[in-house]
């Protein structure tokens, strides 16, 4: 009886898991399929799922109309650059809060997180004007800086939780052994926290890759990343779903592939604090 029951609940939960995963993945699948349809098929009702005339026409046109690889390169520079720059700041910050905490450390962490709760549009005008005056509009440097600032609280938080898991005695031992603060972080802390640092890096590359508020507002053509490339297909002649889908597929493919390969690392890093 109980075996039957457990089998039945297993079946139920497996079914539920598939259902939820499908629901999450469906928009991506739909975009992918639509990118191979003609514009007419893309908006036909009822929609066809798999049985239509597959065509690469949209991809050809998209590649012809816009410089995909330049956008791709801009996205790489912005996401990787801002994540690396962020690490450079977040690692020492998290180190100091995790191992030299005071009674106000928790408040500082909360304050940092609170900046993430602010709607970005609230600081749009000052930042835009600042960028204009500094000549950073439509420049990769400007975008790397703004992405770093946006993701810094998340990076510091993540690293802080990983560092908290590392016994402080190991760092104290290195201090007794004559390591300077820099050597302590570089030779002892960083190698031990490598899974956590790697997953922080990966997650932030993904977040920066997908960021579509500042990248759209602060770029025009030169520094425009893939998000701007997608957006350029939603106007001004109206929506062309098939081409938009082809552009989206091209934009998200690299990060999905990266996510796929680093899946194990990401899960391990994200559950670092959960299971000792």
């Amino acid at each position: 009886m109980s075996i039957k029951n457990s089998n039945r609940s297993k079946l139920f939960y497996t079914g539920l898991a598939w259902l939820i995963s499908t629901a999450i993945f469906f928009p991506i699948l739909w975009t992918f399929l639509t990118s191979f349809k003609t514009e007419a098929e893309a908006i036909s009702a009822p929609p066809s799922l798999f049985f239509f005339d597959w065509t690469l026409e949209n991809y050809r046109e998209v590649m012809e109309r816009s410089p995909y690889f330049r956008h791709f390169w801009n996205s790489v520079v912005i996401s990787v650059g801002s994540s690396l720059l962020g690490l450079l700041i977040a690692v020492p910050a998290a180190w100091s809060m995790a191992f030299n905490s005071t009674k106000r450390t928790k408040n500082i962490l909360m304050w940092m997180l609170s900046t993430k709760m602010l709607p970005p549009v609230g600081v749009l005008i000052p930042i835009y004007l600042l960028f204009r005056d500094l000549g950073l509009l439509d420049s990769l440097t400007g975008l790397v800086v703004i992405m770093t600032l946006i993701n810094l609280p998340i990076m510091t938080w993540m690293l802080y939780t990983y560092f908290k898991e590392i016994p402080g005695e190991i760092l104290e031992a290195s201090r007794m052994d004559g390591a300077t603060i820099g050597e302590e972080i570089l030779y002892v802390l960083a190698p031990i926290a490598l899974p956590g640092i790697a997953s922080t890096l990966l997650l932030n590359i993904i977040l920066a890759w997908n960021e579509a508020f500042w990248t759209l507002i602060l770029t025009a053509a030169k520094a425009a990343p893939l998000t701007a490339f997608i957006a350029s297909y939603s106007s001004p002649e109206g929506l062309f779903y098939a081409k938009l889908s082809a552009a989206s597929t091209l934009a998200i493919a690299p990060i999905i592939i990266l996510g796929w390969f680093s899946q194990k690392q990401l899960v391990r890093g994200l559950s670092f604090g959960a299971v000792k």
Binding site: A173, M176, D177, G178
Partner: protein
């Protein structure tokens, strides 16, 4: 090299005073053990000496130089931590070499020193393993190796044996004592285990609630405890305290008798009691005796003792081995 002197050292965490004003002299080459119950401040005191915590006030002198504000590495001390604190991502070789690399020594010199230490500590076969692949005892040796290789002026041990099983602990205890005889370097050793303190120390510092209760050689503390706390803490099993009618003349409130200082008789004695549980160890027997109006007393008897559960016996204390305590716990002489 290796004399340490603390002058009026205090340490407070926010409002809480963990170390009360404290003076202590540690001579060159001495094996000093800080002992006390958990939370008495012994580890904090060690960390103050190491420089891992800053003193709130007072002065720490190492080899006659004021080290109060020196960074840990500049104090010339080496520390062995309770958790060993080995670098988990480095091989044993690199763990031991780490302090030498930080001191920017020549590669060849480092290799030579590491090999030499490994030989002394029987670690030669494990040099290329990581700490995760070693047993507890071997990890302990690596931690000691990492400390020795720097040739410090003093070693600090923070409960280094508490993570080991009982038999290994006895072995390591001997090894550390042997090391002290070989190196003749000052060692400060923190433990809550009074057996470790008694067997290893030249000088024991008994701490309680952030202050020193007594400083002395193991036998001095055993024979002449200053107060009830030290009397109860040093010696195993612990001293029995027998309440007494307060006598007006010298204010004695209780007497203390160690389990080994009772004489047992079936006929007569100072206290009449019933034998409870007895622990037979072969060489000796510990009887837990229930004495009317006094409570449970622990009594050590030589060899295998023939008393049964429920037997009535009489106990007397050897006259010259009695300790007299006043109501505030001070031990006083009475003849």
């Amino acid at each position: 090299m290796g004399s340490i002197s603390l002058k009026q050292v205090t340490k407070s965490f926010e409002q809480h005073e963990v170390i009360r004003p404290l003076d202590l002299e540690i001579e060159e080459g001495e094996f000093v053990v800080f002992v006390g119950p958990s939370g008495c401040g012994k580890s904090t005191l060690l960390r103050l000496i190491a420089g891992l915590e800053d003193v709130s006030s007072g002065q720490i002198m190492i080899d006659g130089v004021d080290a109060t504000n020196l960074a840990p590495a500049k104090r010339g001390l080496a520390m062995v931590f309770q958790s060993y604190a080995l670098y988990p991502h480095m091989s044993v070789r690199n763990n031991i070499a780490f302090p030498l690399k930080r001191a920017k020594l020549d590669k060849e010199v480092i290799a030579q020193k590491v090999n030499q230490i490994a030989e002394v500590l029987n670690l030669t076969d494990y040099l290329d393993r990581t700490p995760g692949q070693l047993s507890g005892g071997q990890r302990q040796r690596v931690a000691i190796g990492r400390a020795i290789v720097r040739e410090p002026s003093a070693f600090l041990f923070d409960e280094p044996l508490s993570n080991l099983d009982a038999s290994l602990r006895v072995n390591m205890r001997l090894e550390i004592s042997q090391l002290h005889k070989d190196l003749k370097t000052t060692m400060i050793y923190v433990t809550h285990d009074q057996v470790e303190a008694m067997t290893m120390a030249d000088k024991i510092v008994v701490l309680s609630a952030g202050q020193i209760e007594q400083v002395g050689s193991p036998l001095e503390l055993y024979k002449n405890p200053k107060n009830k706390f030290v009397a109860g803490f040093i010696g195993s099993p612990k001293m029995n305290f027998i309440p007494m009618e307060s006598s007006a003349e010298d204010n004695v409130d209780s007497i203390g008798v160690r389990p080994e200082h009772f004489t047992i008789s079936t006929q007569e004695g100072s206290w009449k009691g019933t034998v409870g549980v007895s622990e037979r160890l072969g060489s000796e027997t510990y009887l837990h005796v229930d004495v009317e109006n006094v409570g449970k007393l622990t009594v050590r008897a030589e060899g295998d003792c023939a008393f049964e559960y429920g037997d009535t016996i009489y106990l007397s204390a050897v006259a010259e081995q009695r300790h007299y305590f006043t109501a505030d716990g001070t031990c006083i002489k009475r003849n």
